[in-house]
Symmetry: C2
Subunit: 136 residues, 2 copies
């Protein structure tokens, strides 16, 4: 994918719906949006998004059904990277620390994250793994 692209505020609102639902027609997206927006406004945003190749659409009956073309993981990674660079001076650790402080995690999530961290550490060393733990 060429450019993960950074979304504008409203574009992100729309994409969010698409990611959550997988796809959507203008009406569906509009209904799912948390803020009141005119039908044509939503349509327009979707058209702009399509023009930027961030979504695609295919005919469905009389209407179009829109599908996201960028994965949320990629978009998220890009957005996260930006914040890490600009706000946390490139320190992923600081960002991670902040996020953990900001959003309470369940015990299970913490467990999974720790496993992930172990794997990341292993990758960093790229060798010398002798205490490979199990997995959930």
């Amino acid at each position: 994918m060429a450019d993960p692209a950074s979304f504008t505020e409203r574009e992100l609102d729309i994409m969010s719906v698409l990611w959550e639902h997988g796809s959507g027609t203008v009406a569906e997206v509009r209904d799912a949006l948390p803020m009141p927006l005119g039908y044509t406004s939503v349509l327009k945003m979707l058209q702009i998004l399509a023009e930027k190749r961030l979504v695609r659409h295919e005919q469905e009956g009389r209407a179009y059904r829109y599908y996201p073309l960028v994965e949320q993981g990629a978009a998220g990674g890009h957005a996260l990277g930006r914040i890490v660079d600009k706000i946390f001076q490139g320190s992923a650790e600081l960002a991670l620390a902040r996020l953990v402080k900001e959003r309470p995690l369940s015990t299970e999530e913490v467990g999974r994250l720790k496993t992930l961290l172990d794997r990341a550490a292993a990758d960093a060393d790229s060798d010398a793994d002798s205490d490979t733990g199990g997995d959930a």
Copy 2:
């Protein structure tokens, strides 16, 4: 603090410099910026930021020295929370996982993060209190 505020693209570039250096005059900020920008453009952004109460300035010799008024931690938390909500559907875990995958961490960082995670897990069990103490 009323509103952690979300910065525009350029505002973020400026704030980034201020956070990294602690403070800066127009010329200093301009020099530290990775992109070429006219002197008055930087000045203008700083004035806008000041107007929005995101930075303050005090006289220093002939010029003003600008200081950030919002902490990077707060700004980062806000920005991160936005991404988590809009892109990762509110799942901090997914965001964390992505960030870990995106940015390699040193073994030491992983160690510290795990400690942090343990503490987070403990908090989850008991109860939370508000964070972020006073700020400047």
